[in-house]
Symmetry: D2
Subunit: 337 residues, 4 copies
Amino acid sequence: MKIGIINVTGYTGVELARLLHQHPQVDLASVTGRSAAGKSLSEVFPHLAGINLTIKAELGDVDLAFAAMPHKESAREVIPLLEKGIRVVDISADFRLKDAPEYQKWYGFSHPAPQLLKEAAYGLPELHRAEITPAKLVANPGCYPTGAILALAPAVKAKLIEADVVIDSKSGVSGAGRSLSLPAHYSEANEDTAAYALEGHRHLPEITQELKLLNPKASLAVTFVPHLVPMTRGILTTCYAPLASAKKERELKELYRDFYKDAPFVRVADAPPHTKQVLGSNLCLVYPTVDRRTGRLVVISAIDNLVKGAAGQAIQNMNLMLGLPETTGLEALPVYP
Amino acid sequence: MKIGIINVTGYTGVELARLLHQHPQVDLASVTGRSAAGKSLSEVFPHLAGINLTIKAELGDVDLAFAAMPHKESAREVIPLLEKGIRVVDISADFRLKDAPEYQKWYGFSHPAPQLLKEAAYGLPELHRAEITPAKLVANPGCYPTGAILALAPAVKAKLIEADVVIDSKSGVSGAGRSLSLPAHYSEANEDTAAYALEGHRHLPEITQELKLLNPKASLAVTFVPHLVPMTRGILTTCYAPLASAKKERELKELYRDFYKDAPFVRVADAPPHTKQVLGSNLCLVYPTVDRRTGRLVVISAIDNLVKGAAGQAIQNMNLMLGLPETTGLEALPVYP
Amino acid sequence: MKIGIINVTGYTGVELARLLHQHPQVDLASVTGRSAAGKSLSEVFPHLAGINLTIKAELGDVDLAFAAMPHKESAREVIPLLEKGIRVVDISADFRLKDAPEYQKWYGFSHPAPQLLKEAAYGLPELHRAEITPAKLVANPGCYPTGAILALAPAVKAKLIEADVVIDSKSGVSGAGRSLSLPAHYSEANEDTAAYALEGHRHLPEITQELKLLNPKASLAVTFVPHLVPMTRGILTTCYAPLASAKKERELKELYRDFYKDAPFVRVADAPPHTKQVLGSNLCLVYPTVDRRTGRLVVISAIDNLVKGAAGQAIQNMNLMLGLPETTGLEALPVYP
Amino acid sequence: MKIGIINVTGYTGVELARLLHQHPQVDLASVTGRSAAGKSLSEVFPHLAGINLTIKAELGDVDLAFAAMPHKESAREVIPLLEKGIRVVDISADFRLKDAPEYQKWYGFSHPAPQLLKEAAYGLPELHRAEITPAKLVANPGCYPTGAILALAPAVKAKLIEADVVIDSKSGVSGAGRSLSLPAHYSEANEDTAAYALEGHRHLPEITQELKLLNPKASLAVTFVPHLVPMTRGILTTCYAPLASAKKERELKELYRDFYKDAPFVRVADAPPHTKQVLGSNLCLVYPTVDRRTGRLVVISAIDNLVKGAAGQAIQNMNLMLGLPETTGLEALPVYP
C-alpha cells in the first residue's frame, strides 16, 4: 500500500513521515513540499536520514494521501485527488465543518465543494469509527478539538452536561506550526504564558458541532480559551461544567471507562494527567473529577498535539480506512522524561 | 529604618533581599536562615554579592520584619516579634484567614493566636490600603489569590458576578519554592503541563474570603484549579463567570479602569497579558473581556509570582506601613524578553 | 529470552523499560526498585501503563539483567548474578575502568572484584564489538564518554591527534538522574548554563583509557569540562585538538565515514549536529571539521544521553550478547521537534 | 541630557529603553524604528508602559545617541549624526574593527568611513576607559567578544597565554535578535543545543584584535565556536589555553583580582559562574582555574548578553562619556531565580 504526504515540510507533515516510516503495513512512497522541492528529505530534516525520499513538487502514484496543507489551500489539492480515486486524510480544517456557511464565517472563504462536507467523515475514531472505515475522505480533527471533545464526550452523551461549558486549553508552541511568527519566536515564547484568540478561536465551531451531535437537545454554551505555554509538544485541556445531576466520583470514572472501553488510545487516568506522559505517543489521558464544593464537573485531558492531535490520529484514521488494526504502527510508548 | 528578613534562603526571602537592597529609604539590617546560618549571604546566593550581610540564626535589632517561613512555623516566630513591638509582614498563610477553624480544615493545625487573625490586615493594598497603613501585622496574600482577586474584584464589587466562578491558574515552578520535590525536579517539570490540587488548594479559602467581602450577599461558587507550566516565574490566571447583567466590553474596561485608578501597580491591559510582560516587576496586568457568544465574563491577569505574588507586594505593604509612597523601591520595569 | 532490570525507578531504568517493551525478541520479565517495591510499574510511571509488571524488591528468574544502580552499590548486586550464570549489562561505572586503583582515586572505594575488571567488556560496540558479543559482563559506558570517544576515536586511531585535547560537553539535566538535588531543581536549572566538576569529572579516566587504547604511543593531555544546559535530554560534545598532520576537510570526513562504515548508529553528519536530531533515538551524529585559521581539528557529536548515552546503548550491547542484529528494537526515529 | 535610540524595536533597543528609563541622570527623549513608526512605545512593548514616547521615523533633538541598527546600515546612520556633533554609542559592528579591509572580509562591504575606525573607541571600559571618556564615537563590543575578552585579558596581558586558545561559548537565543529565523523558532531552539558558524564567526576578528593589543608579541591561534542553548538570556564562555608558565590557582586568582580591581562590573568568582547569577544585570563573573592534570588554563565567564553584552555596556560607555560614575543607573541586582 503506497502512501503520500502533501506538504511534508510542516510539523505535521514531518511527524507523519516519522510515524509512517515505522509503520509495518504501508510504504511512504511520495512526499511533496513547495519550498523544498528537489531536496532529499534527510537534507531538510536530518533526523529523518533513515528515509530515502526526495521531496517533489507533485504527488506521485499513491493509494492514499495525507494532505497537510494550510486551510483553503488544502481543499484545492484534495478535490482532484478524490476525483482520481485516491483516498485522503485531510489534516486541514477544510472538511471538518458540516455546514458550508461556517467557512465564510470562521475562515473567510467560500467553500469550493460544499457537497463533500457531508460526505467527509470527521476523523475522531472514538466517536466516528463506523463512518471513517469506508470513507473516501476523512477530515482529521484539530488539536484542541481532539483534547476537548475526548474530555467532554462521555459526560455530554450521558446528559451530565447540558448548558455551561468552559474549556481552558494550554498548548505547546509547536501547535503554531513551523512557519515563523513573533508569538513562536523563542525569546518571546520562552518563560511566558498567555491566552490568545479571545475573540473566538477557529476550533470552537468544531468542538460545538461534535458536542451537539452527542446530545442534540442540549443548549450548550461553550467558552473556549486557548493558551500558549513554553513547551514544544502537548496540550492540556481543563474543562468545567455544572453537573446536570449529582454524580459520585466513582460513578463518573466508571461512566468514562465504559465509554472508552473499546478505544485503545484513550486511557482514563487515576491521577491528574501530565502532557509529558503522552509525549511522542498517540495516547489521550482523560481525568474526570467533581469539585465537591460546587458540584461542578472538572475533566482534564492530555495529548501530544502533533500525534493524537494531528499525525498520529491521521494514521489511526488511515488504519481504519485500510482495514488494519487501529493501533498498527502507533504502539510506541511515550518518551519520558 | 532597619529591616529584617526571617528565613532569607527561600525564593521569597532572597527576592526580598534583592528588592530591599535597591530600596532607597530602608536598610536591610538582619537576615536569618537555619540551614545557612553563619554563612555570608553572597556565599549562598552569588547574585547578591552586592549585599554585605551574614545569615544569622536569630534576628537582630530591627524596626520591621518580613517572616518568610512555611505556614505554622511562621506564627511561632511572628508572635514574639509583635510582643516586642516589631511590626511584621508575614509572607506565610498564618494570618490570612479571618476564621480560626479554617486553619484546622485547610492546614491541619490549631491556630496558636486566633485573636491576631482579626487584628491582622490582609495585605492586598488595592483592597485594604486603609487597614494596612496602621497595622502592626500584615498578612501578605498568596500568589494565586493575588492574581485571582485582582482579576475578579471590580466585577464582584459591581455585582456583575453573583454565582458561578471558575478560576484556572497557570503558575511557573518557582511557586513551589526552593525546597526539593519531584514535581519541581527539572526533568519532570520541563516540557510538561499539569493540573494539581484538584481536591482543593489551600489558596481557595483566601480567594473566597476576599471576594465575599466585596459582595457579602452574593452566593459565589468558586472552582479554582492551579496548573504548573514550565517556566520559572509568572502566574497567568484566567477567570470565567456568567455576567449577572449584560455589559459592553467598553463599559467593562471603564469599570475596571475606574476601580484601579489609584492603584499604581495594576494596569488594565489593551491586549491579553503575557507573564513575560511583568517578569521581575510588581505589576499586575488585568484584561477583562466578554465572550460575546455566551455572554460570559472572561478576565485574565498576569503577575510575577515572586514579586506582586510575594516579595514585591510585601514591600508595597511595608511602604504603606512606613508612610512611604507605595511605589518606593519598586519602580523597576519588567525584564523582557 | 527473559530480561530483568535492577533499579527500574531511575531515568535509565525507566528508559530501559520503555525500549525493552518495544523490543520484538526479548521479554521484560522482572524489575526491581527499593523505594517503590510492591507498586505496579504503571502506578509509578503512568507513561508505562502498557507494561503489566510489579516492581519487586528482588530480581526474578531472568537470562540477562541490566543493573541500573549507583556506582559501588552496583558491583555488590552484579557479582552474585554472575555467579548464578546470569549475564549482565552494568550501567554503573563499576566495571568500566580496567585499573582497580582508579576506583580508589576517582570513586573513593576499594573495588570488591578487581579480577572482573579485565573480564568485563567496555560496552562501546563501535570499538569493542568482538569483546562484547561473548561477554558475561558488559560495562555500559558513561554518557559523556560515549559522545567524546565516538567524536575522537577515528582521529586518534589515525594518529591525527597526539597531544592536546579539549573536550567541552553540554548536557541536558536528566543526566543528573531522578534523585533530587539543587542543581537539578527546575528554578535553578531553567534559564541557566554553567560548567561543573572543574576539579575533574569521574568520566575523564574512562575517556582517556579508551583513547589510549586507540593509540598507546600518543601522549594525550585531555581536559574535559562538562556543562549543564537547560534541556531534559541530549549531550553535545565539542572537541578541539591540534592536527598532527594537515588534513583537508574532505579527507577527514572520508576517514570518519570509513571508520564508522559498519556502525549502524553513528552517522557522520553534513552539517553541525543538533541534540534535537537524536532525541529519543540511539543515534550518534558526528561532525568532524578543521578550523582553517589555526589548523585545529574540531569535532562535534550529539547523542541522547538516556539512549545512546545509557539505555539504548545497553540494549545495543544486549543485542550483540544475544546474537541478535545490533539494531533490533532500536530503530525508532528521533522525535522532532 | 537628552538621549536617543535609533532602532528601538530590536532586543538591544528595547533593553536600552528599559535601562535608560531607570537612569537618574539622563532623559530618554527620542526613539526611532522604521516598522513601528507612529506607534507608542508601550503599544509595541507593553512592559514599557511606564515610558511615554512615540516611535518616530527620524531621531529628534538629542545630545547623545545609541545606534542599534544591523551592521552596514548603522554606519550610514551614524556618520551624519557625528557631523552634527552628536556623540554616538554604536551597538553594531561597524566601528569595532580598526582595519578597514576586515569589513570586506568578514562583513562583505566596503567601509564607508575608514578614517572613523581609528577615531572610534572600542567600548570595553575595562580595557579602554581612557579612550572612551573623551570619544565622540564608541563602538560597543559584540556580546561574545565581551565575555571572551574579559575572561582572557588578564592572562594574555600577563603573558600566561602565548599561542593556542580555544573559546567555546554558549549563548541564549536572544542573541539572535528579534528578527524571525528558523534557528530562533521556539520549537527548533527548545530542547536543543548546537554549534554554529564553524566556518568562522564575525566576532572572531574582534576578539583577536583586542587580545593582540594586550600582548602584541604573542602569536595567538584562536579557535572560537559559538553554541546556541535553550534559554533567552546569557552567555557562558569557557576558554582553554596552555599556560606559558606554571601558576598556582591562588596566584592566578590574585592576578585576575588585581587586573579587575577598578572594574565595578567584573567580579572574580569563587565558584564556577552561572548565567542565572547575572541575568538582567551588567555584571561579568570571571572564574580562572588550572586543570592540574594538563597544566592548562581554564577560564569561564558569564554575562547577560543583552546587558553587559549589549545595552548595559552601552550605558556604561555613555556614563564614561558624560563624566558620570560608571555604574550610574546600572546598579540593579540580577533577577534570580
